[in-house]
């Protein structure tokens, strides 16, 4: 089976599973009493943020491998991951304010984490604009790799920033030193959603990589 077809299969399955997560989150997960139904945005917002960060991490990793091994396939993979990351960060940046508005009474705030996640989106965009502006494939790959690595290194500042500053954004309740403090059923829904969104990332990247291979223009 070609890469395109397997990518499509995986994407298709992932999308069905997303629908399943929708049902579980909307119908079978308890409502949080302080935030109401809007709290359920958590189950799409956090996994999309996770996928966006994963995408940037992969861009960075592939970029490092490309600079060391000079194999254009890594560059092609980085390019694919960047485009997919853009899609997920769009989801993250639209669902975020939709959650913020009813909870904090504001669409946006320039606290450390939100700002840096917005920057993640700009990184993806900038990465792709740079690729579009360089005609020589070898130069394009090297330049993109440099930006990709810098972008990936910016990521830890995103996570750490929440610890350094008291901000409006919820302190991490899952990825933190002590045990996750989310109630059982909600935790399961979240983890399922994260898994499904990761699968979707894989499906998307496979297709996008295949497209890059075919047009040889990454």
């Amino acid at each position: 089976m070609t890469l395109v077809r397997s990518g499509r299969w995986i994407t298709g399955i992932a999308l069905l599973l997303v629908a399943g997560v929708y049902v579980r989150a909307l119908v079978y997960t308890p409502v949080e009493i302080h935030q109401g139904l809007a709290q359920k945005i958590y189950y799409v917002h956090v996994p999309s943020a996770w996928s966006a960060m994963l995408a940037m991490g992969m861009v960075g990793l592939a970029s490092i491998l490309f600079l060391f091994l000079k194999d254009p396939r890594y560059d092609r993979f980085a390019s694919a991951s960047a485009e997919v990351g853009t899609a997920f960060s769009l989801v993250m940046l639209t669902t975020g304010p939709l959650w913020a508005r009813p909870i904090w009474n504001t669409w946006w705030t320039w606290d450390a984490r939100l700002t840096l996640t917005l920057m993640l989106f700009f990184l993806f965009v900038g990465y792709q604009v740079l690729r579009g502006a360089v005609t020589d494939p070898g130069l394009r790959a090297r330049y993109a790799a440099v930006v990709g690595i810098c972008g990936m290194v910016l990521l830890p500042f995103i996570h750490l920033s929440v610890y350094l500053f008291r901000t409006l954004h919820p302190m991490p309740i899952v990825l933190k030193p002590s045990k996750p403090s989310l109630p059982g059923s909600m935790l399961v829904t979240l983890l399922l959603s994260v898994g499904v969104f990761t699968l979707l990332y894989v499906g998307f990247v496979m297709q996008r990589y295949a497209i890059g291979e075919r047009s040889d223009d990454a």
Binding site: V4, G7, R8, T11, L15, V18, Y22, L26, V31, I33, H34, Q35, G36, L37, A38, Q39, K40, I41, V44, H45, S48, V84, A87, L90, V91, T94, T95, L98, W99, R101, P102, I103, L200, F204, Q207, R208, A210, I211, R214, S215, D216, D217
Partner: protein, 41 residues
Amino acid sequence: MTPDQIPQTGGYMVAAYIVTAVILLAYTIVLWRRGSAKTKS
């Protein structure tokens, strides 16, 4: 808390879930079409 004491924020939830679905499906379609194109896309 009784059900009517919980904040009525359902609209935002619906909007967010719809937006997510739209973006993901749109991108799926974009990739599908580019994957089917015969020439360089």
